[in-house]
């Protein structure tokens, strides 16, 4: 395939599920759930993209279509140049998948044996496998865990094992579906460091779904926000912060408690003793406001707050 071809192309993809529910004693109602409802996006090779959205937004369904597990109801998908559902086993060799809520390891076998089995399943030459394994054991600190059956590992330990398992055949593209779910802060941090390393050093394209903003903030330059099966935002984190209607805030500490300050281009939204909050329209520069404040008032301290990403995303969900 051409080197400039995107790793992932999604064009107007829909996926519905027929859900039958019992309503009353005998009656059953049939309901169509639109899990993914007209999604389109591209991911370039080597990118690290976060798919962000609340529970039930359609993130997992999207990943399952991108791996070929689920057949789309309509629309077109291409992953590294292949149609995932039609070429599922061929694609499998080139992608790695981690499902936060499932295990790709063998529950009763020690990690070491799971890795050995995967080598046979992916038909990886012994020397390449050994080299990759050595690297991941070191980076993910798996050394002491290799002889422990998977069922006896803690969630964080297991997740490190899952990620090594998904990467041992050196895929071009790695999907992680809620990889940090249930992890403690230290484990989350380690995992994020590792993902950054393989993205930068190996050039592996990474697509990560999460409802944890921390994952996206730490890892992804680009974020896709999904809600009700639709894309409600596609861009950088900075652009997400500067979305329409979102504002930056200037917090100013004056020498004494005083009435609301008056400055062109900003509105006071709150006063608390000598501290006042001024809201700036989106896209406006803070410099003139700061200059006016400094000239006209006795300013002790001053800070500019970016809008909290949580608030931005919450507003997105409300609009969507």
């Amino acid at each position: 395939m051409a080197a400039d071809e995107p790793a992932i192309e999604v064009v107007d993809v829909h996926r519905t599920f027929d859900v039958r529910r019992r309503a009353g004693r005998l009656r059953r109602t049939r309901q169509v759930v639109r899990a993914v409802d007209g999604l389109s996006f591209d991911v370039a090779r080597g990118e690290m993209v976060g798919l962000l959205g609340p529970n039930g937004a359609g993130k997992s369904t999207t990943v399952k279509m991108l791996t070929g597990i689920l057949v789309p109801t309509s629309g077109a998908l291409r992953v590294v140049g292949l149609d995932p559902a039609a070429a599922r086993t061929r694609l499998a060799r080139r992608i790695g998948v981690v499902f936060g809520q499932r295990s790709g390891l063998w529950w009763d076998l020690p990690l070491r044996d799971s890795f050995a089995l995967l080598r046979r399943i992916y038909d990886v030459p012994a020397d390449r496998h050994a080299a990759a394994l050595a690297e991941f054991v070191e980076l993910l600190e798996l050394g002491e865990l290799m002889d422990i059956p998977v069922r006896a590992l803690s969630l964080g330990q297991r997740m490190r094992g899952e990620i090594a398992a998904a990467l041992l055949h050196e895929p071009e593209l790695l999907y992680l579906d809620e990889p940090t779910i249930g992890l403690d802060v230290v484990s989350k941090g380690r995992l994020r460091d590792f993902l950054r390393t393989i993205n930068v050093e190996r050039g592996t394209t990474v697509v990560l779904t999460t409802h944890d903003l921390g994952d996206v903030e730490r890892l992804c330059r680009r974020v896709l926000v999904v809600d009700h099966g639709r894309l409600v935002f596609d861009g950088s984190l900075d652009a997400l912060r500067r979305l329409d209607g979102t504002t930056r805030t200037v917090v100013v500490d004056l020498a004494t408690s005083s009435p609301q300050v008056e400055v062109a281009g900003a509105v006071v939204t709150r006063v608390d003793g000598p501290r006042q909050w001024l809201s700036l329209p989106s896209g406006a520069s803070a410099a003139p406001v700061v200059a006016q404040l400094a000239a006209a008032y006795d300013v002790v301290d001053l800070a500019i707050q970016e809008p909290a990403i949580e608030d931005v995303v919450a507003r997105l969900y409300q609009r969507g």
Binding site: T61, I69, W106, I121
Partner: protein, 270 residues
């Protein structure tokens, strides 16, 4: 071709891991395998006891029935060893754990069959082999090369026919959440039905296991040829050598059904 080789490699690797795990508890493995010999042997003992008071059943003597019994038992035994684990598919479909198998570069069917591979199932194979050996010593077969080849291909075809039934049953589990019972009805039901000469059944049953679900090709038609018997349905003579064809046809149907099942798979919502 490489796909087949890879599938076989993966099957061996996964089943091997389960065998090693089972061998860690050798005594319990032996007990389980012996248990299989006994449970699958019980129905043959019943037949032997029956022959204390009768000389023929449906026009067939004990040795001839043992031949039928051995052939069908061996076919099922091999299929059960290879693919008995597909019984688990219903659970994997319900809880969505098939997902992880679908993202690996080996057919999911191969992985499902190899997962939880139970070597103790050689119990049934050994029992059927003993009965078949005993039968061959006690029936009158005018041996030549063709008949010897027919015996061997019959065993292979029988295994493929039962394997296809396992796969059909597994495919059905994509549609009906828990259909392992249906699968069992056809595999174990099929083996019970074909343990006896088909002359004891109404002709509709014989037609059904010839044209609908070709269980009669597991043992009945080739055995008629080996034993020099007339076909009660009066079908042309080549039918008695057609087991491989029946097996391939059923395998093709099972393959299509399985693919259809995988396309219908919907995993589970989180």
């Amino acid at each position: 071709m490489t796909a087949l080789v890879r599938s076989w490699q993966a099957y061996r690797a996964i089943s091997g891991a389960w065998v090693r795990a089972a061998m860690a508890y050798r005594a319990s493995f032996v007990a389980l395998a012996l248990g299989q010999v006994l449970t699958s042997g019980a129905d043959f003992i019943a037949i032997v006891l029956m022959f204390a008071s009768i000389d023929t059943l449906g026009g067939f003597g004990l040795g001839e029935i043992a031949l039928l019994y051995g052939l069908t038992g061996l076919g099922l035994g091999i299929a059960d060893l290879v693919a008995g684990s597909t019984e688990q598919l219903g659970r994997r479909v319900r809880d969505g754990s098939l997902d992880t198998m679908l993202v690996r570069p080996v057919p999911a069917l191969v992985q499902v069959a190899a997962d939880q591979f139970a070597l103790r199932r050689i119990g049934r194979i050994s029992q059927a082999t003993v009965v078949l050996g005993w039968a061959l010593l006690h029936v009158d077969i005018d041996w030549n090369l063709t008949r010897a080849a027919l015996l061997v291909t019959t065993i292979g075809s029988g295994a493929v026919i039962y394997l296809s039934i396992y796969v059909l049953g597994a495919a059905f589990q994509f549609v009906a959440g828990d259909a392992a019972e249906v699968q069992n009805a056809f595999t174990y039901g099929g083996v019970t039905l074909t343990q006896y000469p088909l002359t004891i059944y109404p002709v509709e049953v014989v037609r059904a296991v010839t044209f609908l679900l070709p269980l009669a090709f597991v043992n009945w038609y080739p055995a008629l040829h080996l034993l020099g018997r007339d076909d009660p349905l009066g079908l042309p003579g080549w039918v008695q050598a057609a087991s491989p064809l029946a097996a391939l046809a059923l395998a093709a149907v099972a393959g299509v059904a399985w693919r259809g099942g995988v396309r219908r798979y919907r995993s589970t919502g989180s």
